[in-house]
């Protein structure tokens, strides 16, 4: 620790920090544009010039390290003169278009020019103009004349997103920010450039001209999409969500937000929203009152429970449903006498049930991932499934951590990977077991060597590993490796409430049927909470067959979707911005949130709908006044931290089902993961949401005699779809990659299994 003085205030600070950091720690503001605490130092805007005693000239506070006894003056005559001079230069070419600029009211340049700018400009010559660019559907770069060339967006791409899509081309007065050959910015974190831009050069395309920042009310919320539990500020005007911004939280999302969390809100007011309860009678849909719809459901369920038996009722929820919703759903069906309830819709291997020692979770805190020095990531489309965790790991790698990958697809993670084993799905378990044996035998080869040389080892199982037909054995192998390396192991939760679903007991236990069994042996009645079976289930073919044969399908959904074809009742429920609720993030953080706006039309929070259903069915204990009461009951007497445990007992050895032929590898594309995201128009216009293709190696293309781009018939389980062929020689041999969770591939069967290709 050293002592310095800023503006006469004595400050004790660590050696090595910069003047601007020391000043911020002490609560002293220094104007700046290009400096950002999470990015590298560029020192190119010069706004943070300060006077330092004994220095002949003003120094940039962001690029000057503190030294013992240093005396800094941020508001001395010399400092202020320098700052005002810089301000004048910055404003020379900046257009005076604040009244029509989207950044107006939340603009750093505007704010700082109030303090340091002149009353009038002394510059009367022509201003430079920079042409606008089209860099994609999310970020608007229409008014690049406003750019002050701070290069924050460029550094963000290089350092955090891992891909340098924007750069500063040309030089001097001609310098401008652009992408190479007018390309789009495709990073899954691109929206953060909007937040970083200190002026109105990069703005949010969907939000453009919708509202002024001071007209918006802010509500704190939690991300309903991925499992990180990102802190959100939902901004609303006239009962409509107009924008979503990150709330800084160093333990979770830092100051970032993935594009999925940022732009999903555009799906909230989609034309597909279901706003009135509907009943199908004589093959026709009728809009009805809530009372009628709920009584219809209650009668149907009661009739079934008293007749064929409650075991014929199955309840499915997505892991994006709140804790309260899942708790009441399971309480309702259990009250009726059925234990058939599950939220693990894409899981296929349930042999670990009953052997799990607790609730599967990340196995460590999110911040721990940054501190790990050796990571083994098994079966994860990391960048697309968990964008911000990928960014954290990317930074850990830059700081010296080693990442090892075992997976069935070789997507570019935009970070240095120490070792990787890209193998077919049927070899995934053996590859992991081999690492376990190597580690146990203290062999220093490949991945085992990397893990054995670390002090803080993390073994993490991704979505693909959890959906894998040998998931329980993968978990057991990961457990062995973690134990042998003195490390931690865990799961990247698939969705916002993947941990919460367990805590809410929305799992069948030993008495009921799990998600797969419920669809394999069709039930007579299904209660669907947020579920679109053809997109959310591991085997859409089987799921849809079950829906079509059921006597009663009740769909609690925010949207009118394919349920119109097979359901009997549609109950409009509120998405996460219109209800209160709780999500438990993958690190076990229990976060409750309030609704930001009123439910659209006659939609109602699902917990209220389930409560009334409970009352109508006379199930005991359904007298709740608030969602908080539901949550408190669900978590009553529960030590959440103690429940989290990835330990697993001995699991049966199961061979990988399906021999011969091509093996299917499926990812759920980043913007196809849940109902809200699927309906966000800007996200659906991105490159990541482009039409799924069937990816294969060149020898498969050769066998079919087709070129990339040619339409190919892809068949699985008796159905086929036509998709464009695409070349990926980094896939393992005998593997074909076809996305799941997308309407174009929903007719196909299981996410894992054999698949056949033929020329269309």
């Amino acid at each position: 620790m050293i002592k310095i003085e800023i503006d006469g205030k004595l400050i004790e600070t660590e050696n090595g920090v910069t003047v601007i950091e020391a000043a911020h720690q002490a609560g002293i503001a220094i104007p700046h544009f290009c400096y950002h605490k999470k990015l590298s130092i560029a020192a190119n805007c010069r706004m943070c010039l300060v006077q330092v005693e004994k220095a002949p000239k003003p120094l940039p506070a962001c690029a000057t390290s503190v030294a013992e006894g240093m005396k800094v003056y941020t508001h001395s005559a010399q400092a202020v003169k320098a700052q005002k001079g810089v301000m004048e230069f910055l404003l020379i070419n900046h257009p005076l278009d604040c009244p029509i600029c989207d950044q107006g009211g939340e603009c750093m340049l505007q704010d700082i020019s109030v303090g340091y700018g002149g009353v009038a400009s002394r510059y009367h010559e022509e201003k430079r103009a920079v042409l606008g660019k089209d860099i994609g559907p999310l970020v608007s770069a229409e008014e690049m004349s406003r750019c002050i060339n701070c290069t924050r967006c460029v550094r963000f791409g290089q350092e955090i997103a891992g891909m340098m899509e924007l750069g500063q081309a040309f030089r001097g007065e001609h310098a401008e920010i652009m992408s190479f050959v007018s390309g789009t910015v495709d990073s899954e974190l691109s929206g953060n450039m909007i937040d970083l831009c200190p002026v109105g050069a990069l703005t949010s395309k969907p939000f453009r001209y919708k509202a002024r920042s001071w007209e918006l009310s802010r509500r704190r919320s939690v991300s309903a999409h991925d499992s990180l539990g990102t802190s959100l500020a939902v901004q609303t005007k006239s009962n409509r969500v107009l924008r979503v911004l990150p709330i800084e939280n160093d333990d979770i999302n830092e100051c970032w937000l993935s594009d999925k969390d940022r732009f999903a809100y555009e799906g909230l007011n989609s034309a597909e929203r279901l706003t009135k309860p509907m009943i199908k009678q004589d093959g026709k849909w009728h809009e009805v009152e809530w009372q009628t719809a709920l009584e219809f459901v209650a009668n149907g369920l009661r009739h079934l429970a008293n007749g064929a038996g409650a075991a014929h009722i199955g309840a499915l929820a997505t892991a994006n449903s709140t804790l309260e919703e899942m708790y009441l759903l399971q309480k309702l069906v259990r009250g009726l006498g059925s234990n058939n309830v599950d939220f693990r819709l894409r899981q296929t291997d349930f042999s670990g049930d009953g052997k799990q020692q607790g609730t599967p979770w990340l196995g460590m805190s999110i911040a721990d991932i940054s501190r790990a020095d050796r990571l083994l990531i098994v079966g994860s489309f990391l960048r697309k499934d968990h964008p911000l965790l990928a960014a954290r790991i990317r930074r850990a790698v830059k700081n010296g951590a080693q990442v090892n990958i075992i997976h069935s697809a070789d997507d570019d993670l935009l970070m240095n990977v120490a070792n990787k084993a890209i193998v077919a799905p049927d070899a995934l378990l053996e590859t992991l077991n081999q690492v376990a044996r190597d580690v146990a035998a203290q062999k220093d080869v490949g991945i085992a060597a990397s893990l054995r040389s670390g002090e803080r080892v993390a073994v993490l199982l991704g979505n693909f590993a959890q959906q894998h037909p040998q998931a329980a054995q993968l978990q057991a192998a990961a457990q062995q490796i973690a134990a042998a390396t003195n490390g931690k192991f865990g799961f990247f939760g698939e969705a916002a409430n993947s941990v919460g679903g367990y805590l809410a007991n929305a799992v069948p236990g030993t008495q009921g049927l799990n998600a797969a069994a419920m669809l394999e042996t069709p039930r007579k009645a299904y209660l669907l909470l947020n579920v679109e079976p053809e997109l959310d289930c591991a085997n859409p073919q089987q799921a849809m067959a079950a829906m079509h044969t059921a006597d009663l399908v009740v769909s609690l959904s925010a949207y009118k979707h394919h349920a119109l074809e097979y359901a009997d009742v549609l109950l409009p429920i509120a998405p996460f911005t219109e209800t209160s609720g709780t999500f438990v993030s993958t690190e076990g953080r229990v976060q409750s949130f309030k609704g930001a706006v009123k439910p659209l039309g006659e939609a109602r929070p699902a917990w209220k709908v389930l409560r009334v259903l409970g009352n109508l069915l006379k199930v005991a204990g359904f007298e709740y006044d608030t969602s908080e009461a539901v949550r408190d009951e669900a978590l009553h007497g529960m030590d959440v931290a103690a429940r989290l445990d990835n330990g697993i007992g001995a699991v049966e050895a199961k061979p990988y089902a399906g021999q011969g032929g091509l093996q299917r590898v499926s990812d759920v594309p980043i913007y196809a993961t849940d109902a809200v995201v699927r309906r966000s128009a800007p996200l659906q216009a991105t490159t990541d949401a482009s039409m799924p293709r069937v990816w294969m190696r060149s020898e498969e293309l050769g066998k079919l005699g087709v070129q990339p781009g040619t339409t190919v018939r892809v068949s699985q389980g008796g159905a086929s779809v036509a998709l464009a062929a695409a070349l990926d020689d980094r896939l393992p041999k005998g593997v074909v990659r076809v996305a799941a969770g997308h309407a174009a591939t929903a007719a196909l069967g299981a996410m894992f299994g054999t698949i056949t290709l033929e020329r269309a």
């Binding site: 290089q158 340098m164 899509e165 750069g167 081309a169 040309f170 992408s179 190479f180």
Partner: protein
């Protein structure tokens, strides 16, 4: 695709830098492309980016930053006339005007036969010989007069660069 000659030259450059710093060779690589083709197309930059394992935009930044890289065809012989202060005082305006009139083209243009192109350049660090131009950034020609320019152009026409 980068030609084999260019790849061989880049490999020689790469020896000078640490193995994990391949992008250090980007300026040389751009120069080799320009030497071979006379200018650097966006596709060439993408090829260099792939060859050196660096972002395409980073190559573009370098290529657009330095004036001596031609981002469009500039003729077989690019005459870059210095218009900085020393040359200007010694009559570079006349040199430029004479070149323009003689070749019938303006700054940044090339003759219809694709032989000559004229660019404006920055100080070449040899003011003692002002006014001056360079041929393809390689050969410096100073103390230019209309007669001398005629002679140089005639030599170039005749194939003696």
């Amino acid at each position: 695709m980068l030609s084999e000659q260019i790849q061989a030259k880049i490999e020689r450059e790469l020896v000078k830098y640490p193995a994990d710093q391949r992008q250090s060779a980007v300026m040389a690589a751009l120069r080799f492309v320009q030497d071979e083709k006379g200018w650097i197309a966006n596709d060439d930059m993408a090829d260099i980016a792939a060859y050196l394992g660096m972002p395409q935009m980073a190559v573009y930044e370098v290529a657009t930053f330095y004036h001596m890289y031609n981002l469009k065809p500039m003729g077989k012989f690019t005459l870059t006339v210095c218009t900085n202060l020393s040359c200007q005082l010694c009559g570079s305006d006349d040199t430029l005007a004479y070149l323009k009139q003689k070749l019938g083209i303006g700054i940044g243009e090339i003759t219809p036969d694709g032989k000559f192109g004229v660019r404006e350049g920055e100080c070449m660090g040899a003011c003692v010989d002002a006014p001056m131009f360079t041929i393809n950034n390689k050969k410096l020609c100073g103390r230019l007069t209309p007669q001398k320019i005629d002679q140089i152009l005639a030599d170039l026409e005749g194939g003696q660069a």
